[in-house]
Subunit: 332 residues, 4 copies
Amino acid sequence: MNIKYSLLLGFLGELSDRFTAYGQPRSVAERFALVADIPGVTGVEIVYPHDLADLGEVTAACAAHRLAIASVNLNVKKDRQFRDGSFTHRDPAVRAEAVAWMKRAMDTAADLGAEVVTCCPLNDGYDYAFEQDYARAWDWLLASIDEAAGHRDDVLVSLEYKPSEPRARMILDSAAKALLACHELGRANVGVTMDMGHALYAGESSAEAAALLARSGKLFLVHVNDNYRNWDWDLIAGSVNWWDLVELLYVVRKVDYRGWFAADVFPSRVPVVKAFGTTYKMMWAASRLIDAVGLSTISDLVAVGQPPQVLERLIDEMIPGFAEAYPELAAR
Amino acid sequence: MNIKYSLLLGFLGELSDRFTAYGQPRSVAERFALVADIPGVTGVEIVYPHDLADLGEVTAACAAHRLAIASVNLNVKKDRQFRDGSFTHRDPAVRAEAVAWMKRAMDTAADLGAEVVTCCPLNDGYDYAFEQDYARAWDWLLASIDEAAGHRDDVLVSLEYKPSEPRARMILDSAAKALLACHELGRANVGVTMDMGHALYAGESSAEAAALLARSGKLFLVHVNDNYRNWDWDLIAGSVNWWDLVELLYVVRKVDYRGWFAADVFPSRVPVVKAFGTTYKMMWAASRLIDAVGLSTISDLVAVGQPPQVLERLIDEMIPGFAEAYPELAAR
Amino acid sequence: MNIKYSLLLGFLGELSDRFTAYGQPRSVAERFALVADIPGVTGVEIVYPHDLADLGEVTAACAAHRLAIASVNLNVKKDRQFRDGSFTHRDPAVRAEAVAWMKRAMDTAADLGAEVVTCCPLNDGYDYAFEQDYARAWDWLLASIDEAAGHRDDVLVSLEYKPSEPRARMILDSAAKALLACHELGRANVGVTMDMGHALYAGESSAEAAALLARSGKLFLVHVNDNYRNWDWDLIAGSVNWWDLVELLYVVRKVDYRGWFAADVFPSRVPVVKAFGTTYKMMWAASRLIDAVGLSTISDLVAVGQPPQVLERLIDEMIPGFAEAYPELAAR
Amino acid sequence: MNIKYSLLLGFLGELSDRFTAYGQPRSVAERFALVADIPGVTGVEIVYPHDLADLGEVTAACAAHRLAIASVNLNVKKDRQFRDGSFTHRDPAVRAEAVAWMKRAMDTAADLGAEVVTCCPLNDGYDYAFEQDYARAWDWLLASIDEAAGHRDDVLVSLEYKPSEPRARMILDSAAKALLACHELGRANVGVTMDMGHALYAGESSAEAAALLARSGKLFLVHVNDNYRNWDWDLIAGSVNWWDLVELLYVVRKVDYRGWFAADVFPSRVPVVKAFGTTYKMMWAASRLIDAVGLSTISDLVAVGQPPQVLERLIDEMIPGFAEAYPELAAR
């Protein structure tokens, strides 16, 4: 399988959380240069507007490093005006501003040759009981996305769901909720970004999420990373949930997903090049494992519901020798 | 607010989990008789087919104790044939059987004067990676419900979602997923049972879940109980998450919900009459608290997003005296 | 009950998380001035070394606003040298530096009249499998604290446990682990800070944690805040888990806790004065509720294990009238 | 590595949870016979008293199938008298009964040649706030275990911790709490059973738990299984958290653990022989992978804290070829 691998360019610079700072400040050009040391990368996901002040610099860097703009990531959370919400902000002027940003992000994506604008509206949520008029917020979310997506139909608008952070609860919190929004909107160019880590800590199977989104033609983008199913730790993909990664790659191949896999890994205490390089290696290995066992072999066993048999086939490939060690049992 | 309070009749008999047994065997008639000691109850939710072998006995008990059949709970999980699934079972014969049971449950509900058949398809899910063809399972779920609900349109079919148990993952795992199914089916008589505890341990706000379901006219039934947001402990409602109960009652009143509140409380180590009685008292108290503060007062504060002010108003009603104790601060 | 209420002075200034910034920059003096608007506060918890560059300014502000230094919070996580750990850092020079900071923080506490230095070693943990030699890290933690605490015995060293953040796993992750450290160290001046929110998202009952720590004489400090048991949201205390707050206050009174309650609330989208004021009001109300029902009444019911009766007594105080509304049932 | 593999004999018979039944009734002899079809098993963990009514039958079955009694599992939860607790029951007569059962289980273990009696006191906990006097319960737990363990010192008493189920909270809920009990008791023959799944859903790293227990000489027994870190699903070991299994096996080898690995897998919808056979194959494969990479190679990388390098070494063994596919990057 050919994995179209990109990464979030923002993670190559300076980062911080509530307590500590990581990485170091790097210009857009410096971050592009760093990508060259990471295996497998052929595109980047770049933040609008913060990293797109100078389009010429970006297109030059793309050309110099033979990288595509895989996706444009609309950030309507960092700026103070969006602190309490973007597409669902109580102030209609702020909602309009978020919509305007989305339209400009779509134009920029078109200019850069990116098919997708992805957006995770992190501040659209709530922290407390009695904070939100939930139905109204949902209406506002739909209305905002509807208006923005109607701006042009040659660019895909991909909604990234996430259960929480920085809000204790995000409105767009699950694959099903995002798909529900797509159904209610009924626009061909509105779909979903499935971030593997978000799915895992939402209590989902990322493979199921991908399968259901693809069933409706709505799997527009995949973000890869990992965690302990309790928080968006943005760890190296496959470093915790190896089988989930293998199954996700199995599913996307089954549904013939042709989009990008963008690494959304937070390189806090691991060298940045390693964080994204090991992520690629994990995906490469998982994909190779599927090839070795065979897509149809796995598919046939899934069809009849024999998960131990699938696991044993995968293990036989990964660490051969069990049948030889226990011949009398393997024969059964 | 007039709370139409019912309870799950099955919980008044003998119960068990993986390790221990609770309660004691009681006939349907004995369980009906026990209800008389529980304040507020005016209806029961009864299991089809297991507690409906003798319809005459049931209608007689209803009459004797002045209780309505609030809802019929279709159980397609206990019998061995449904061990690996019901509406999504790999065997089409089992799927057909589940559909047939649903149709008969609908007929029985009509006979008993109950508007709703509720069903939580607990075995329709998966435990392992590589166990399910997710899109196929979703197709089967929709097809089964579609056929069953088409049987007659004067009985509501209410799908109860739950994240897990006994399967590690249930297919119908969230309010959004259940609402998505409703949208895909497009049938007026298919809606959703929102079990407060299921919502809480799905990581949802039960108030948001109710609001979104009601927005689409799909809030058919409410189950009340409580837990620590990590498992379906089926504790006394309001015993853990008091504010969630208050907010839920606020939301259902705002949307003018006219259905039942069925107590789904597992009386493992608490006297059974107490478990359901305290649940009712909690709901009564929460409802009265809303009355005391005023629906429009709360609504106005929610509209502008001032959760601490709402909480302070509620506290002032619950435990008055703060303004007198700290007059200089209250004046600000 | 007289609640000795303090707050974390740092939260009155500028704050940020991974995505958004909150509050505004304020000098130490400005933050002290802001405290005057918050009801109930009689002390502050102040960060060493970052807010203690000018001891004279601090003591003058304390005097001007009649505030005590309730506790000194040693921060060995913000500075780049501690990014990968403090008391368990692989480099012995960094461990020595953390110990030296602790000693100086103890001296400063003594100078300021604070009994306790509290420290939450957030960077001492791990993100990945195969990252830590666990037994070695535990040895280093004990050795570092042992040396630091031995510096002087007139200042208490209070270890604040937390399951995670910013590390995916913190070594000192539970009340039991912190108490285990105390037992292994065997020093009278080493104890534990129980942060209510940390306890809740560690899966603990904060009341049980307080009771077990107090049983060994190790409950040195209490931090109050709230969350949804899934993350350290640092919400207004009692805004989610009202009963947990009531039970915690019941337990600390039973064990005659005489220390401070420091509000560790992150005022992201709520006015800062409100965040800490409502927290105090919640504690005041919970305490008053216990008084109204009576400590011995609760205690007697706990002794025989009748949780519904306790809840009903509390509800009767909070929202009276049930017995009048349902006289025939209340009589039973 | 030679893995001493046993399994819980009880799981080979009929099982049930709150909703569904699994397996089929099988006598002790039938269950012993079934073990012969499972690779790697050389011992069994057997329940006292329920499966030990006829010691002669058991010893005969052991001899016939060349199986050892690896451990005796004391069940003080199933019988009605223990419904509300065993070692911490409010009634001193029940506590005495639990202690008496433990003593007899120890005698039986000695008779059967088993070194360890393991016990998970599942009913010793609480469901609600205001249900437990926590310090008193802890005192009772220690006193009961102290008396029981003092019965004879040639049999190990191993306390199995678990966060919950069937109680919403168990008192002995974490590795640290169990180790704390050991420290307070100070008895050489009291230690801890680390159930991998319990550790995972307690939010622990099972490798860290094993390392800390072994550091104090208290790792008496290991139970293997797997889950999604949210509940004790008792799935096939390694089927979810492959790396955790590999790291656990690495740690137990490092600390030279010589005890048993008992499979505690709930074969609900997977053939029972497969459930335990695949579990063994997973352990065999994980162990072989460690051999292939080399214990000291891993240990050296852990010592300097390079988790991506360890993962890459493991991946290189599992799915070779990356260096050949990306030679220019591998060379860096």
